[in-house]
Amino acid sequence: MPTAALPPATYTLSELMVAAAAREIRDGEVVFVGMRLPLIAFVVAKRTHAPNAVGLFENGVIRSTPAPELIYTMADPPNILGATQCLDMLGVMSLLQSGRVHLGFLGAAEVDRFGNLNSTEVRGPKGMVRLPGSGGACDIASLAQRYVAVLEHSRQRLPERVSFITSPGNGEGSGWRKRVHLPRGGPSAVITTKAVLRFGEDGEAYLASAHPVSSVEDVIAHTGWKLRVAENVSTTPEPTAEELKAIREYDREGFWTS
């Protein structure tokens, strides 16, 4: 992107995360979009570097153009208007299972050292906390060619092992997905409120870049295991003016990105 980045005070953390998520989408890819922040990341990617990306939504919608106005859920009427196709869940899940989806986005309450995700229940000293559940997350993590998770960064949210694997990542490490007969895929990035983590050949997460507001030490201190750091660890690029324009024209009141 030739556009110069704006100084830090001029964008929010959520805007940085949306821009980082959008950049995970390569032009021409088929993307399983998911809920919340990724809804906007898809729009931003479409309006900037990935105009030919195709979005799949588990309600059965396929879009080649971004929804004309802000959506809160994938079934909001603007996501239907002008869609490429509106059919059923079995249809889009079949495309996912047969390997045609390059990238899927997921949220979660917890992500661990090997990129396994928990969105079902958390057991702690105060007892069990029930979360909403998988939705399509387990399906995306199981079947997409790669997936990206987006969540808040804290020691609680990034434990060494999740207490419940809702959506399988690299399990216990390299080779695990093949051993349990998952057909492909696995985590390619975790975008948090502090950093971007990526995954090594051994299936374990490492710190690839810290956001401008976070130091490497800060990220390590707020991670629930001894997080490895890339030799060439960098600072997460700030959102460009073009990306910020795409975000703000869409999320005018900052519901997702304030």
Partner: protein, 302 residues
Amino acid sequence: MSKLLSMSDAIATLIPDGASVALGLQLEQMIPFAAGHEIIRQKRRGLTLIGPISDILFDQLIAAGCVERVIAAWVGNVMMGSAYNFRRAVEQDGLRVTNLTNFAVALALQAAAMGVPFLPTRTALGSDTALNNEFFTEMESPFHAGDKLHAVRALAPDIAIVHVQRADRNGNAHCWGNFGVMVEAVRAAKRVMIVAEEIVDPEVIASDPNRTMLPGFLVNAVVECPYGAHPSPVQGYYKRDDAFFRQYHEQTKTREESAAWLKRWVYGVNDRRDYMNQLGAGRVEELGVKQHAYAVQTDYGY
């Protein structure tokens, strides 16, 4: 034969205590809230709720004490996150929940729709969702030794409740937008109830058979109920009432607040007309279609 019934008669006739009820099958669109509220008013007990994601209707039925078991992939408030009554019921009251994934819900219903005991899939291998779960078992492909898959067990709800744009009195129904797992749920269910924004002449439905997502012979009851899906959206009729979902989140944090919410929006109104009056003409006007977007005509001539 006309299958038209009032909402109260349809619920009274079709949904006994202990029934398994599939709801919210088109995901965040066209959720049959009016039917759910009538179930609450008629004080059904011991229900099993089935659905992929439910948005806040499952939470309301749980708050009202109608529910014994949930078979679903996701229960919450889609734009806000968790739903408090579901959380309380699981964490404190021991509500029985069977965790599925969206794809597994679709496959379980499709298996029942096809009359087979299971369907194979590659989803959820290595996921704890599949452990100790009666809907999943590992299997090997009968055609390729060593090819391990999950079998997902068939699930046939006692009744599926589906909201649509328009239906005729015989239960043939047009629906557009996204379908989620509606079609397979309708084929899987033992009984089907349709709630329609409008009842139209059979000729209107027959004029566009590709839009007929439900054939009348599978349908037991048709209820006319304008705005019956509010606060969820119905394409071409009204948009999503986002503020209502936000307010529900704010107004149901405790049991007492949830009881007050139900008293105001469910027990305190007789029917959907009362409910919409309480919502107010200004709000209803605001939710209405501002710019129509008609599809081109389709020529079925020959």
